[in-house]
């Protein structure tokens, strides 16, 4: 029974779109202030913020005053992470909405956005989000050849010419040469020397 908790972005003391939580839950629903590298502050339900093990540990260690600084996470990325928490924390593994959210979350994501999310999820120690983003990258790679992977990820080819020649050979002949035999043709006995079962 999660309340209608909303992450409230606080800019210069003006609360935007604040929703007052139901009276019966005020004491249970503490809010945590997270601060991105640019200094932007995000007010997040403690329940959701605990989607990050790192933050969860800090809360348990008694970090109650002020904002938790996250110098490794930018505001756009943190905003996405909070969205993820909203749709996942407190929900079951098989929740349909959560799955639908995941699909939309990674669909059309650029490689740099995926990279940012992977790094943030790793830093914040949010394993399900890390799995989601890593899987999205693995899925992207699946249909690509070497040049396409390099282009998509912006990776420079740093092989020596000899190594590059070997790589080309590996990926041209080795990976692509398949055949079909058109099997099932049997010949007559050839002298009956060695026979089959």
């Amino acid at each position: 029974m999660a309340s209608e908790a909303v992450a409230v972005k606080i800019q210069e003391g003006v609360a935007v779109d604040a929703v007052v939580p139901a009276a019966s839950e005020t004491s249970a629903q503490r809010k945590i202030l997270l601060k991105s590298v640019e200094g932007e502050e995000f007010l997040v339900d403690e329940l959701f913020a605990r989607g990050s093990k790192m933050i969860s540990n800090m809360i348990d260690d008694g970090f109650t005053e002020g904002a938790i600084p996250l110098p490794n996470v930018t505001a756009p990325v943190l905003s996405k992470v909070v969205e993820y928490w909203k749709h996942h924390v407190g929900k079951s593994e098989t929740d349909k909405d959560a799955r639908e959210f995941d699909r939309a979350f990674v669909k059309d994501a650029s490689s740099s956005v995926l990279f940012d999310i992977i790094m943030a999820a790793n830093y914040l120690d949010c394993k399900p989000l890390l799995d989601l983003a890593c899987q999205a990258v693995a899925d992207a790679i699946r249909d690509m050849n070497v040049e396409q992977v390099r282009g998509f990820f912006g990776i420079t080819n740093d092989f020596t010419p000899e190594e590059e020649a070997a790589v080309l050979e590996e990926n041209r002949e080795w990976s692509n040469a398949l055949t079909v035999t058109g099997n099932g043709q049997k010949e007559s006995n050839e002298g009956g020397n060695i026979v089959l079962p």
């Binding site: 756009p76 740099s112 992977v149 990820f153 990776i155 002949e173």
Partner: protein, 389 residues
């Protein structure tokens, strides 16, 4: 799933890279922007890159999808390093991935099922890994190719990783098979030392200090790795011939409990013309003694013999149980088993070869034999004139 290429968010993204990256501020020269374009992905922490690549490796476990794993190994040095760490040898995983896997021992407990296609016109032979579980496969992934060259005193089969280029000057030459004049004795040569890049474990004898030692660099050359001999049996040409293979690079202990066989980790492409022939592995020439303690005396080499067929009175022929993998009777068909020091045959069939169609043959091999060695041995069966039909 469609992806857009990285846009403006890339510059902010760098702020959170855990490796140091050039700061993107006003006043920096434009070359910094180029650095930023040279991706964050290349500097991703290895454990995260590993997470991503492991997912690809696990999901693309069979050919043809496995080529995506090979593609990952070709992206850049760091990706290649991670893929080579993740991918396990055929001995452990039962899978062939990168080309070096054709020179590594097959799986321990079951054979890898392959087939060979012969082309009489071009005198070429192509080895494929079977792609389906069917008893007689109908599609395959290319592994090796060989072309036969006739010489005045012998035949030679040049073995290559390229399906179309089996010339002697080919950059993808990896070994060859040479016969004697009579077609009764053959030698399989490996274009790189069987221990290239291998890590020698503690179980190796004497000359090691510490638990691991990388084999020292050995000169490039054609190294004899299998000596094959065909003989008529006591019944002459009325009975199946006898085959013996001395595996110069595999110790007899490999087929005993706890045994291991050499597993090269680096494949080197080379040009046949530039390679000298090396002396018999294990002979007492000076350079062999200087090489690490991976060579051993002839008595300690693994010997394979063909399994003796049984005479079937009713059918009036010699029979072997090929378990459905061979369907046409032929003198070329054989099964090889290990022969221990007392000359006793072990039960496990390590290499099986036999005809299933006009120019189609199955080849099943397993530990401690590699696909390359198996292919070389099977090629000799095509060539030998002994008791031919």
């Amino acid at each position: 799933m469609s992806f857009k290429s990285g846009g403006a968010s890339r510059s902010l993204g760098h702020a959170l890279s855990s490796r140091s990256s050039p700061p993107v501020h006003d006043g920096e020269p434009s070359v910094v922007v180029d650095d930023a374009q040279r991706s964050c992905w290349a500097s991703m922490p290895p454990e995260l890159l590993r997470d991503v690549l492991m997912r690809v490796e696990v999901e693309e476990s069979s050919w043809p999808a496995r080529k995506y794993v090979v593609a990952c190994a070709g992206v850049c040095k760091s990706w290649r390093g991670v893929v080579k760490e993740i991918v396990m040898t055929p001995e452990v995983s039962g899978r062939l991935t990168l080309p070096i896997s054709v020179k590594q021992p097959g799986p321990r407990n079951f054979p890898l099922q392959c087939f060979i296609r012969r082309n009489r016109t071009t005198r070429t032979y192509h080895l494929y890994l079977g792609l389906t579980q069917a008893a007689l496969t109908d599609s395959g992934k290319f592994l090796l190719a060989a072309r036969k060259y006739r010489r005045p005193t012998c035949s030679e089969y040049i073995i290559s990783l390229n399906a179309d280029d089996m010339s002697k000057g080919s950059g993808t030459y990896i070994g060859k098979l040479r016969s004697n004049f009579f077609g009764t004795r053959f030698v399989v040569y490996d274009a790189q030392h069987p221990d290239s890049g291998v890590t020698i474990s503690r179980s190796r004898p004497t000359r090691l200090v510490g638990s691991k030692q990388i084999a020292p660099r050995v000169p490039a050359g054609n190294y004899p790795v299998v000596h094959i001999a065909y003989e008529l049996n006591v019944l002459g040409s009325r009975g199946p011939r006898r085959i013996q293979c001395i595996m110069n690079s595999i110790p007899a202990s490999a087929v005993e409990p706890g045994g291991t066989a050499p597993t090269p980790t680096e494949l080197s492409f080379s040009n046949l013309d530039s390679l000298p022939s090396m002396p018999f592995l294990g002979s007492k020439s000076s350079w062999t003694e200087n090489v690490s303690g991976s060579l051993f005396a002839k008595e300690e080499m693994l010997v394979l013999k063909n399994k003796s067929p049984r005479w079937h009175d009713q059918l009036q022929c010699w029979c072997l149980n090929f378990r459905g993998r061979v369907t046409v009777a032929s003198v070329k068909n054989f099964q090889l088993v290990a022969s221990d020091s007392a000359g006793q045959e072990q039960d496990m069939v390590l290499l099986q070869f036999g005809k299933v169609g006009k120019d189609l043959f199955t080849m099943d091999y397993q530990y401690p034999i590699s696909a390359f060695q198996a292919f070389g041995i099977c090629l000799s069966s095509f060539d030998t004139k002994l008791a031919c039909e």
